[in-house]
């Protein structure tokens, strides 16, 4: 136990209403940090001691500590992937990051049990009254512990397990251990290794055979301490014929120094199952967001990633699907908006490993000001397979002359019986379009945001209603400051 309280080092709340809109909720209330006393604090820097501390605080089984220590070794041994990725990664100072903070509460079960200061946070985030009730089904992660976690009665009656990672590994090892770290091995990349060493929080979900979860399970994440990295770990297993949609929205208050978010999300869709995973990422502009997301789709199963990146300083994220069973389907729909000082390095991976599998990638990026967006795609269909299909579309919209977009599609399709289709476009919002809209009475900023919203409209339609409305507002806010 540490007597360090994170509040001491926090800057005063910043009353900026435009730069750091909050995802999921009222955007004017996002830039603040609330007073919180951390009962457990692993301090800054990363060593074996840190890992052991985290594991002991969580009272983990020996195999998990083993798993963590092995991961730490791999993390330390792996070089930064700067031979292909941006050099900006070198600006992450791993010694200044806090790898674990917790107020030490057990995950909460009912709304009444949620601490008042956290309720206050929801209030300040502008979560409306009816949604707070809706939060009864929400896994909300405040810093590294789930401060509030309550599976709706309906969901648990269906036999669905919806817990945080610590509880999942402790209470249901027989279910989760089988797939934990299997879809994304520890050594997949430097940051998956980092996450495997220090993970805390995130959701572990199991949906039993044939169960279709009617409403999306939700999670809110936010970073609430300076220099505090967030390393949530999520594993979702949909048993045969099961269906589930998971949504995560990220909000983070603004801090002057860089923070690191490095999550690992593994999805397992067994025979005939469907998993849809929706992310609206709006980290503040100092966050390195380095996330590994991958799903496995068995026979007749479907994994669908809907991924929207608006915030962060640098995002590197390429959701993937391994199509392991016949007729499996994989899809990635992705929207990235890179504003001044931001680099959205996103894309998708589709690994075909069985006959008759299909994959679809639609990626749209918008680069504003000096923002930069990069698309990296990997499609792999070996020649031993037949009747596999991939469709890839990537469209980039440049708002002005200093913005930048790059596309690196790597498509390897062999064999005579497989097909692939790739389309890419780069467009600009023309001065004539802007004049046309201004002639109808819209300001330049409104005109620009309307054009951008139009560009992503067909993808946004795929989002659940409340997220699509939110996304539209976020884009408006981002565009307002981009003209004139």
């Amino acid at each position: 136990m540490s007597d360090v309280t994170a509040t001491e080092s926090l800057p005063a709340p910043i009353a900026d209403t435009v730069d750091n809109p909050v995802s999921g909720i009222d955007q004017t209330a996002g830039n603040f940090s609330y007073k919180m006393d951390y009962e457990f604090d692993a301090g800054t820097g990363l060593s074996e001691k840190t890992v052991r501390y985290i594991s002991s605080v969580k009272k983990e089984a020996p195999w998990i500590l083993e798993f963590r220590l092995n991961a730490l070794k791999q993390f330390l041994a792996k070089p930064m992937p700067t031979h292909w990725a941006t050099k900006d990664l070198e600006n992450i100072n791993f010694d200044k990051i806090r790898y674990y903070l917790s107020s030490g509460q057990k995950p909460k079960r009912t709304w009444e049990e949620v601490p008042d200061d956290i309720k206050k946070t929801f209030e300040r985030l502008g979560v409306p009254e009816h949604e707070r009730k809706f939060l009864a089904g929400v896994e909300a992660q405040f810093d590294s512990e789930a401060a509030y976690s309550n599976i709706k009665d309906i969901v648990s009656k269906q036999g669905v397990i919806f817990v945080n990672s610590t509880e999942g590994l402790r209470e249901h090892p027989e279910l989760f251990r089988k797939f934990f770290g299997k879809v994304i091995p520890t050594g997949d990349n430097k940051f998956s290794a980092l996450n495997s060493a220090v993970f805390s929080g995130g959701s572990f979900i199991y949906v039993p055979k044939g169960v279709k979860v009617a409403q999306p399970l939700q999670a809110y994440f936010r970073i609430n301490a300076e220099n505090f990295g967030q390393f949530e770990r999520t594993l979702i297993i949909a048993d045969e014929g099961a269906e589930v949609t998971y949504m995560e929205g990220c909000t983070a208050p603004k801090f002057s120094t860089s923070t690191l978010h490095s999550a690992v999300v593994e999805l397992v869709a067994l025979k005939g199952a469907k998993i849809q995973y929706i992310t609206v990422q709006n980290w503040s502009a100092n966050v390195f967001n380095l996330v590994t997301k991958r799903g496995v789709a068995e026979e007749d199963a479907e994994v669908r990633w809907i991924d929207c990146n608006i915030g962060s300083r640098l995002t590197m994220k390429y959701p993937g699907v391994v199509l392991r069973g016949k007729r499996a389907r994989g899809e990635v729909l992705s929207i990235a908006l890179a504003n001044d000082g931001q680099h959205q390095d996103t894309g998708a991976k589709m690994i075909h490993a069985a006959d008759d599998t299909t994959s679809n990638i639609i990626a749209k990026s918008i680069s504003v000001g000096e923002g930069r967006s990069t698309y990296r795609g990997l499609v792999h269909i070996p020649k031993t397979l037949a009747n596999c299909r991939n469709n890839t579309e990537c469209d980039a919209l440049l708002i002005n002359e200093h913005s930048r977009t790059d596309t690196y599609p790597a498509i390897s399709v062999r064999g005579r019986k497989n097909s692939v289709q790739h389309e890419a476009s780069v467009s600009k919002v023309s001065a004539e379009q802007i004049f046309y809209m201004m002639q109808r009475g819209l300001s330049e900023g409104e005109a620009m945001s309307l054009a951008v919203n139009g560009f992503v409209n067909d993808l946004v339609k795929e989002f659940p209603m409340e997220y699509s409305v939110e996304l539209k507002r976020l884009i408006e806010l981002q565009m307002e400051g981009s003209v004139g």
Binding site: Q433, F435, M438, Q439, L442, S443, L450, N457
Partner: protein, 251 residues
Amino acid sequence: MSQLEIKDLHVSIGEKPIVKGLTLTVRSGEVHAIMGPNGTGKSTLAKAVAGHPSYTITSGDVLLDGKSVLPMQPDERARAGLFLAFQYPSEIPGVSIANFLRAAIQARLGEGEELDATGYYKRLYSKMDLLQIDRKFTSRAINDGFSGGEKKRCEILQMAMLEPKFALMDETDSGLDIDALRIVADGVNALRSTNLGVLMITHYQRLLGYIVPDHVHVMWDGRIVKSGDKSLALELEAKGYDWVKNELVPA
């Protein structure tokens, strides 16, 4: 009663003078037609009045109810009551007509005022009925893949919804077959009222058979060289633009 005064207006594109001293006053309830051959500056006049950034007004003034619009941005001019029906309307992919108009009307409301959605759709549908436009039309993206006729009807629908004081209609008849022309003209006629002044720009007399103007002006080389009533359009049609060139333009 409103008044749009164009006073000795000179407009250049780059260094090249296009409009060379044009004076014209349109009042509410009046329909003026400007006729002239291609390249005489008709469209330049319309775009310059609307505030297109590529057109430089080198001298003269444009007054709306006595106040110069020249210091105003295009959107301010639009909100003040100037509407330009484009000859070539822009396509805005992914933005539906309904959402676009909603945003345009919202932009006219004061700070903190919210558009009443129910009232908006009611009004939209009634205007569409008036203009005989299928309701499915509103969910299509603005001008995206529209035929020439659909684009022009989309312009008229926007004009109906935004209720400008003055409408500048730039070659509204171009690219339309006779049926589409009649539908568009019926739409404009349905919007004619004592509150609306119209400045129609056209190359052909044809349109004026459907939208009968109160005043006709003949434009040549950046100036109005003759004004009259609707009979001037017929005379022009009969005699051709050579007549203008040979008899009306001062040597």
